[in-house]
Amino acid sequence: MEEHGQMEKPLSDLIDIIHFTEEELQKSEEKYRSLVKNVRLGIFRSKPGSTGRFLEVNPAMEEITGYSRDELLSMNVSDLYVRPEEREAVLKEIAAAKGKVTKELNFRKKDGTEIVVSDTKFAARDNTGKVVYFDGIVEDITERKRAEEALRESEEKLRRVLDSSPNAITVTDLNGNIIECNQVTLDQHGYSSKDEVIGRSAFEFIAKKDHGRAMENLKKTLEEGSVRNIEYTLLTKDGREFPAELSASVIKDASGNPISFVAITKDITERKRIDEMKSIFITKVTHELKTPITSIKGCASHLRSIDSGELKEDMGKMLEIIERNSERLLKLTNDMLDLRMIEEGKFKLKRETVDIAKMLNESIQEVLVLISKKNQKLVIEIPEDLPPIPGDSIRLSQVVYNLLSNASKFTPDSGCITVRAKVYDVKIFVEVSDTGMGINREDLKRVFDLFPDVKKPDYFKGVGIGLNICKEIIQMHGGEIWAESEGEGKGSRFIFTLPVR
């Protein structure tokens, strides 16, 4: 009997506690008012079984379910459940348990709306241990669940914003220890998981030489609220350095106290590379401009300074030099314009029928002056019956001119230059070979790059635009171009193919 008595106690105790609490709270501070209003605990005693009914309910139960006390007492408890069969399973679990069991359940109110409740039950047993009835507390947690869901969604949204940012975003505490970061941060530094990053000092990701500046900027950020576009050398997981630009600002709490930093970093390797290319380009173009201008200026000033009687003697030679160097300047200008067109995607080919043999012979005529000036031998092996191909004959002759003038330029006096063409399979092969300085194996591909390198072997003389344009033109014709050489001093072969329709 003692056991039974003990089991009866909780309900009345509980009601007392709730009443007491409510009164106390109502009397207490303003800030508790909403809490009291929102914490509405339904209290009940119910019978087991699928047709089990409520034995007792408190007023909060009426409010939670929308049913009156009388209605509640005369209905099956399971009818409150959205899935009535669920009650049997819950009761079984409680019967098997020693103490109270708390479950989240879906109830349907009288007006049909679904609510989520937190339901805590105790089983009251008779002498044999059989469950006589249940005592329980029900709290409507629909709003709380909704708020939790909203918070989860909001966090998810923030996460998505962080992860879809093209820049690395990192949040640190005021000491610079990382609290949060996005995927780009991990990618940028070569880490696969956040666990490897969070909790570590941001300084571990900055090159040692920049630590002093980073510390100063941390102070500056705190004082001024933010810093913008500061260049640092950052480190990847495997110790590789890369240049980055960082902007940071202070995050403050509601009362304006700084609590953390947020930093946005951007890998500027590519921008640095472009800057460097730009400066290489300017250096090379300046040199390429100055050389012909030197010849022209020398000629012009000489012709001006000598007596008109002597003029005739030097005039022919000098005018020839002036003309040749003007051509050279014009070609440089055209190459630069072509380059711009290619970069802007505006480089277009004419579609006409090209007689390859004719095109080759015309291009050869243009470089004959250069070749004969250096006493070089020219061998031509071009069959008459090459099939016509669709393409742009001016652009193709530009390629041939480039290859031939390079061959002449990089071949010593009295060397030999050969132009061959043949059809094989469904392609025309055109080959320009020379007995000149040759190309190192590792540079065979690189010679077609734009501005290949400053620390160059001699064959990178020039701006480094011509072969790049050749590659572009041949590829636009659906062909291929490549270079072959046995090595430095052993001559080179430039070959391109064009598909026969």
Binding site: G298, S301, D314, K461
Partner: protein
């Protein structure tokens, strides 16, 4: 008549310099790279050398150092071609022992005047 060696890897610049200087009565020899320049110096013993800096095989700076450290050739005046706006070239040239420099592009008068300045008897 004084003998002048002009060294540059641009054939047209060599030709222009040759025409201008021959007209003034100088004997002109030319070389297309650093190694050829050294060969021509020992073979022809020029009275003055004009050297371009950027050249294949051996740069003008290297050639200048070699010639200035050899007692046989140290007294031959060396003029370096430098490119306008590149002060570093000028400094490096003077450091390598060059006697003077001539900025490219140059006029016929500038070329002749600087040579006269460094040759006691033209």
């Amino acid at each position: 008549m004084a003998k002048i060696l002009v060294v540059d890897d641009e054939p047209d610049i060599l030709e222009v310099a040759r025409i201008i200087l021959e007209k003034k009565g100088y004997e002109v020899i030319t070389a297309k790279d650093g190694n050829e320049a050294l060969e021509k110096v020992s073979a022809s013993k020029p009275d003055l050398i004009i050297l371009d800096i950027i050249m294949p095989r051996k740069s003008g700076l290297e050639v200048c150092k070699i010639l200035k450290s050899d007692p046989e050739t140290a007294s031959i005046p060396i003029l370096m071609f430098t490119v306008l706006g590149r002060n570093r070239d000028r400094e490096q040239g003077l450091k390598a022992g060059a006697d003077d420099y001539l900025v490219k592009p140059f006029s016929a008068e500038e070329l002749v005047n600087i040579i006269k300045k460094h040759l006691a008897t033209p």
